[in-house]
Amino acid sequence: MKPMTMAETTALLGAVPGLAEVGQEPLTELAELFVARSYPEGAWICEEGAVAEDIFVLLQGQAEVVKLGTNGRRYAVATLGPGVFFGLVGVVAAARRTASVRAQTAVELLSLPTAVARELVEADDVHLGSPIRRALLVALSRQLWSASSTAMSLAVDAGLAQPLSRSTRGGGPGA
């Protein structure tokens, strides 16, 4: 793989959800902290239970999130595509991975040491800290919605959801 230039890395990072509204200067400084990596199809990018040493931004290709059930079987719980920030658990909580990620196709990604990300998140710095925290918030919110949607679909299919209330009114703030 041809090494990526700093301008290319910066542009790719700027396309990550949550980083689109970040200024060029902090974005370039952030890009300098990331390292480009490649994985062949079928390779494990990170494994459940392992120490969460890095966080990742998927640039090209597709990967699947796999969780080990208490029955010892593995379940694919989500699919990841370009622009997704993943492997974040070490930044927000546990030191060990709570799921594995496997490359479904050849994958290009950027990685950042978890310790560096955690330092940025925990610092009071706004210049570099706010962009990384916002990207993290967007990634977590999207993961949360994806998991909720799956549960929602199962519940609707099983007839457990309630009919939509006709009494719901209003259009939110300022309405």
Partner: protein, 179 residues
């Protein structure tokens, strides 16, 4: 959006709620300063605090009352979470404008909420206001906690599906009331 002034004593009440969650860790004077940036709005029972598909960028904190986070599919709705005083909502659409609001937040009783509009948050970021770091860190903690809870529920569902007991597992999670 209209920005109603705080009602008498309302700023103190908002500060107390905000200092419990979103602004936890900020000194009281800072909490009062940042709370002053929020607008306060009241909602009647059944009214939507946020609607799925809405593109407005507000971060909300429930000050009084109770609300439900509801997902919609076809003509059905499912309660994903119940909110009480101090709970934060709307963070997904606030930081992620490319994704429309994904769920409704509906008042289950008369509610009062504090709302931070995106332009004011952005002004704080540009001023490198330390309160931004505190708010964002607290939000990460809150969303991560929701994520862990949902992730655990989903893993349980997948295992139950594998074991053929997924309907029972769903009923435990969402209640047995059918259409």
């Amino acid at each position: 959006m209209n920005q109603p002034a705080f009602e008498p004593g309302g700023a103190d009440a908002a500060s107390r709620r905000l200092s419990d969650t979103l602004l936890r860790g900020l000194p009281p004077a800072e909490v009062a300063r940042v709370a002053g940036l929020f607008a306060v709005q009241s909602f009647a029972r059944g009214e939507a605090l946020l609607l799925a598909g809405q593109s407005s960028r507000f971060l909300g904190v429930l000050l009084e009352g109770a609300a439900s986070v509801q997902a919609r599919k076809d003509s059905a709705a499912l309660t994903l979470e119940e909110l009480g005083p101090g709970d934060v909502f709307g963070e997904g659409g606030f930081f992620d404008p490319d994704t429309a609001r994904t769920a409704d937040v509906v008042a289950r009783s008369q509610c009062k909420v504090a709302l931070l509009p995106w332009p004011l948050y952005l002004r704080m970021v540009q001023a490198e206001d330390r309160a931004v770091a505190v708010m964002e860190r607290n939000l990460i903690g809150l969303v991560a906690e929701r994520m862990r809870s949902t992730d655990g529920r989903l893993a349980g569902l997948l295992e139950a599906a594998d074991a053929g007991t997924w309907l029972d597992a769903l009923k435990r999670l969402f209640g047995g009331g059918g259409r």
